[in-house]
Amino acid sequence: MISPAENSVIEVCDLTKRYGDNLACNSINLSVRQGTTFGLLGPNGAGKSTLIRMLMALTTADSGEIKLFGEQGNHRSPEIRCRIGYVPELHFIYRWMTIKEVLNFVSKLYVNWDTDLANEMLSKFELSPKKRVSALSKGMTAKLGLIIALAHNPDLLILDEPTSGLDPIIREDFLESVLQSHSCKGRTILFSSHHVDDVERVADEVGILVNGRFAVQGTVDELRNRIKRIRIVLPDGKLPVRVPSEAVFQKLSRREWIVTVDPFSDALFENLQSENDAVSADVIELNLEEIFKDVVRGQKPQTEEAKVD
């Protein structure tokens, strides 16, 4: 877990949210430092959107604490809201307004609205100000959402699966704008997605949320160094002696035993090799997508073939 830093823009402590019997967020702890980009990864229903909605005070937590820019509580003051740019997965911008009317309305609500930046982004995204929001495609609406989120120069940008359902070109444009905004303004970004490659491209730190809890958290390099896959070929008729406590996911197919461990160490590798009389063994480096898949699969009940007795 990332330890709470002095300059954390987002601090979440033991946050829990339940919808009936379903535990959406289970004692979540999170700390996002100023100027960093935090990638929130997780499968559908992992609790990413619930966590973000609680950060935006759109849903109240059952228990736990949220601090944004040092302000604690279940409500966000107008000052704090002015420091946040939020791009949701689904946009509910006034459909009866034109793009120009939307931007004109929103500009009156922010003290530091940058009209030049909004116009620049409008032309970059090739959005016609006269077009009604109801006539925009999903990608165009997402771009308008990003303009609204960025044109008031927020200190914190919260993106909740913003590229979901967008075609690769629009996704590329979108991510480029996010990256540019991060590098130019040094703002803090919380980026939620199940597109691992998007997160890998944008994020400094990553947290994988599974079943309402962070299964792993750390920088991308840290996770790559820490989580590795060990492949052991067992002697004929033999099963693995034991499953190490570090295992996050394992799979046995015929004589090949694959186990993903967190944290990996040379000692653990040698130990597994010797206690199983391995015919051969090797260590496989994982990319973020493979780490994500193994961590998520490891948290779910495994299929009969994958189980090790």
Binding site: P78, R83, F92, R95, F105
Partner: protein, 251 residues
């Protein structure tokens, strides 16, 4: 932990003006319909004067025709105002919920109190503006009354203070009822109906209480009780609507 203190509080008058403009545009179809209806009320009144019981009296002069048109038109205008008050108060929260634009608004800097102030301003402002025309036309008709020959019994088409108070009380109760119900719902059908039924419910309530407690109803006593109850209960319903709206989370 310390963060650079930034004065980012939005300028209130500018923000409230933007919200009011947005809410007025949200209800623009109803507002345009209200203007057209009020004009139609006076056109209809003119036709009624031409074709109905006031025909003989109205034939006498332009002043008479104008008097009857204004007087009858103001009565129709009040009825239309009551209907549109229910429509506006029942829709102001629910229209944004039904298309989920309330979720977009919830992520922007205005507080719920500021949103509420804007919505109340639009509903009350539009209703007051609608009510102004019947009041003005009735006042003009009142001034014309001494110069018009009116058949016996036709003078009662003019509203006195108590009738005007009753009309305003009914409209307050309509707005209160519609507001209270719309604070909970996503569609405007039920709140509009609730608003329109509220004056009848209050009337039944006042009658029942009077009957149970054997309260005398001589002269204007019953009407005064009804007016008072409508103001109090209508105001209470509106307060309840606001009270429920403020802590509610829209998404």
């Amino acid at each position: 932990m310390s963060f650079e203190a930034k004065n980012l509080r939005p300028r209130r008058p500018k923000l409230i003006r933007a919200l009011i403009r947005k809410d007025a545009r949200l209800l623009r179809f109803y507002l345009r319909s209200a203007i057209a209806t009020i004009i139609a009320c006076y056109l209809l009144a003119g036709m009624v004067v031409m074709l109905s019981q006031y025909q003989d009296a109205a034939k006498q002069s332009l002043t008479s025709r104008t008097f009857f048109t204004l007087a009858v038109g103001s009565i129709y205008g009040i009825g239309a105002t009551g209907f549109f008050a229910a429509l506006l108060a029942g829709s102001i929260f629910t229209l944004e919920r039904s298309d989920r634009s309330a979720e977009f608004l919830a992520c922007l800097p205005p507080t719920r109190l500021q949103n509420l102030v804007s919505k109340l301003t639009v509903v009350l402002g539009a209703t007051t503006a609608m009510l102004a025309l019947p009041i003005i036309s009735s006042a003009v008709a009142n001034q014309m009354f001494p110069y018009v020959q009116v058949a016996p019994g036709q003078g009662n088409i003019l509203f006195g203070t108590l009738e005007w108070l009753t009309s305003v009380a009914i409209i307050v109760s309509i707005i209160g009822g519609a507001f209270a119900v719309s604070a909970w719902l996503k569609s405007n059908g039920v709140p509009i109906l609730a608003g329109l039924l509220t004056p009848l419910l209050i009337l039944s309530f006042v009658s029942l209480i009077g009957w149970l407690l054997d309260i005398p109803s001589e002269g204007n006593a019953f009407q005064i009780r009804y007016v008072t109850s409508s103001f109090v209960l209508g105001g209470a319903f509106a307060y309840m609507g606001c009270y429920w709206y403020l802590p509610r989370s829209d998404p």
